[in-house]
């Protein structure tokens, strides 16, 4: 994602139309061959690890919020592959640097927002703020009462 944002900024900040077209093409390839597979892999690993670990998938608010933030981000990324392909196709027929620069603003904005989402997910994973969901509280109480009755 950082590489994608760096390429997008490079496209916006240069005046060379050929460099812009190459940058947009590279961003398209990066999206399809790196971002999408890694995002899907990370999502599957996160869900499976949650199910195996004591944290669970729905017991703690930080896990639920992280899932609610990550899942739409992955869906938007999947949808954005077609947008990125359209941008690359439009860039191929576009001669002027100004028009190419304006095409690159969408990837810059989306990459910026994606980085913010990643930052939020990472912060949640590191700090793990306290808070049990209603389901998690119910499970904890069941466990506590079962221990008390022994």
């Amino acid at each position: 994602m950082v590489a994608f944002l760096a390429l997008a900024l490079a496209v916006v900040l240069t005046d060379d139309a050929e460099v812009m077209r190459a940058g947009l093409s590279a961003m398209n390839a990066l999206t399809v061959y790196a971002l999408v597979p890694m995002a899907l892999f990370a999502l599957v690993m996160a869900i499976s690890q949650s199910l195996v670990s004591p944290w669970g998938l729905f017991r703690h608010w930080w896990v639920v919020v992280k899932l609610l933030v990550t899942l739409p981000a992955v869906l938007v990324l999947l949808q954005y592959t077609s947008t990125m392909a359209s941008i690359t196709k439009m860039a191929a027929g576009e001669p002027s640097a100004a028009a190419l620069r304006s095409l690159a603003m969408s990837p810059v904005l989306h990459a910026g927002v994606a980085l913010l989402v990643l930052l939020l997910a990472t912060t949640l994973s590191v700090y793990k703020p306290r808070g049990l969901t209603p389901y998690g509280w119910r499970k904890e109480e069941e466990r506590r009462l079962a221990r008390q009755r022994r």
Binding site: L9, V12, L13, W61, V65, L68, T83, S86, I87, M90, R101, S102, L103, M105, S106, V108, L109, P129, R130, G131, L132, P134, W137, E141, L145, Q148, R149
Partner: protein
């Protein structure tokens, strides 16, 4: 007959066997939820206003944003 009195800690034992009330939802969850709802409302309003979400969506912001980026790059 010896009055042994109430069983020790019987009220505490009874209380420990009662389910405890659930604590309130943490404030950080409420704040993040409100932010998410606000963003969702903005998105729905933009769709209802007929704004197509594609590369052309940001056309009104493009020139301003790219101009700002170029100005920053010139200064640096």
């Amino acid at each position: 007959m010896v009055d042994r009195g109430p069983a020790p800690h019987s009220s505490e034992t009874t209380n420990q066997l009662q389910p405890r009330p659930r604590p309130p939802t943490p404030r950080w969850v409420v704040v993040l939820g409100l932010i998410a709802v606000a963003l969702l409302v903005l998105f729905v309003v933009s769709r209802l206003a007929g704004m197509e979400h594609g590369p052309g969506l940001h056309s009104s912001l493009r020139d301003a944003a790219s101009g700002a980026l170029l100005a920053v790059a010139a200064v640096v």
